[in-house]
């Protein structure tokens, strides 16, 4: 018997939250992936490089989380258990490098919810978009993710 999810949260905007990027967090993230580029890990090499410091890897904005708008909040909004989730799609658009020590503002919202039949049964697709801006109010990155709920 498929479960029901609360589709009324389509369009919901989550409270904006600030994230300050820690130097060590960039390095921990790159090492966890096994990406040992000196432009992520070596302060001295990066200092002489094009940005004058290390920058974050392309998928790093996935670490920008806030308990009011993270997957836990989504689960509460949808009324489903975490074991039902799969990651369907993910996209990052980058407009400026993400740098250590900078504070960014993240604004997330649910842009779409739709259901369709999957290989292993009915599924719901929840699309979230987060806009990341810097202190100049420039858009630094757009993060779009599709979470699949096994109904």
């Amino acid at each position: 018997m498929p479960i029901q999810i609360n589709t009324a949260v389509k369009g919901k905007e989550y409270p904006p939250y600030p994230v300050t990027v820690e130097r060590g967090k960039i390095k921990e993230f790159a090492r966890a992936i096994g990406d040992l580029s000196p432009f992520y890990l070596d302060d001295e090499v990066a200092k002489a490089g094009p940005w004058g410091d290390i920058i974050a890897p392309p998928t790093f904005p996935i670490t920008f989380r806030d308990e009011r708008s993270d997957t836990g909040a989504l689960l509460r909004d949808l009324g489903v258990d975490i074991g039902r989730l799969l990651h369907g799609e993910q996209e990052f658009e980058h407009f400026k490098p993400i740098r250590p020590g900078q504070t960014y503002l993240c604004r997330g919202r649910i842009t779409d919810i739709y259901e369709k039949a999957g290989k292993s049964g009915p599924m719901a697709f929840v699309v979230r978009e987060t806009t990341v801006t810097d202190s100049d109010n420039d858009i630094v990155a757009l993060v779009r993710g599709t979470t699949v709920v096994r109904l």
């Binding site: 090492r31 392309p58 998928t59 996209e91 407009f95």
Partner: protein
């Protein structure tokens, strides 16, 4: 040389990325990635939980595999070159799986103004050791001209 500066003139439509072959997935890497990313979904850590959820066993965060795919692009075209990267997660990656990332150039677009970078559109994929696609995707990278 790895991490050498790459220019727009160095790649053409049809150019293939050097495949990036990652080491076999181990539980410790999933634990490290959980800590690094903040994704502590027990389905990637706890076998009993994964089984109860109907997944058979723990499996890798999709975002870890996407991190591999992004690395394959930056290893080839340079850190900081990625303007856009998007993937679809086609199959789960299990413990012991060896992920290989591949890609090729679909298009190379000249700068709209005289001084801007070229934009290079890539088709990307990642497969496991059985040749099954685990990720399909696309990226756009910005490359300077030798001028």
């Amino acid at each position: 040389m790895k991490y050498a500066k790459v220019y727009a003139e160095d790649v053409q439509v049809g150019s293939e990325m050097p495949p990036l072959v990652k080491p076999p997935i181990q539980q410790i890497q999933l634990t490290r990635y959980a800590g690094a990313s903040g994704d502590f979904n027990p389905i990637h850590q706890d076998v009993a939980f994964a089984k109860a959820a109907g997944m058979g066993d723990v499996f890798a965060h999709g975002m870890l595999s996407m991190g591999f795919v992004a690395q394959s692009v930056t290893d080839w075209l340079g850190v900081g070159s990625v303007r856009k990267i998007g993937v679809r997660f086609a199959a789960v990656v299990r413990l012991g799986d060896v992920v290989t990332c591949r890609g090729k150039v679909l298009a190379k677009r000249p700068p709209k103004d005289g001084n801007g970078p070229y934009l290079v559109d890539l088709e990307l994929s990642a497969e496991n050791q059985k040749g099954e696609k685990v990720i399909t995707g696309k990226a756009t990278a910005a490359l300077p001209s030798r001028g």
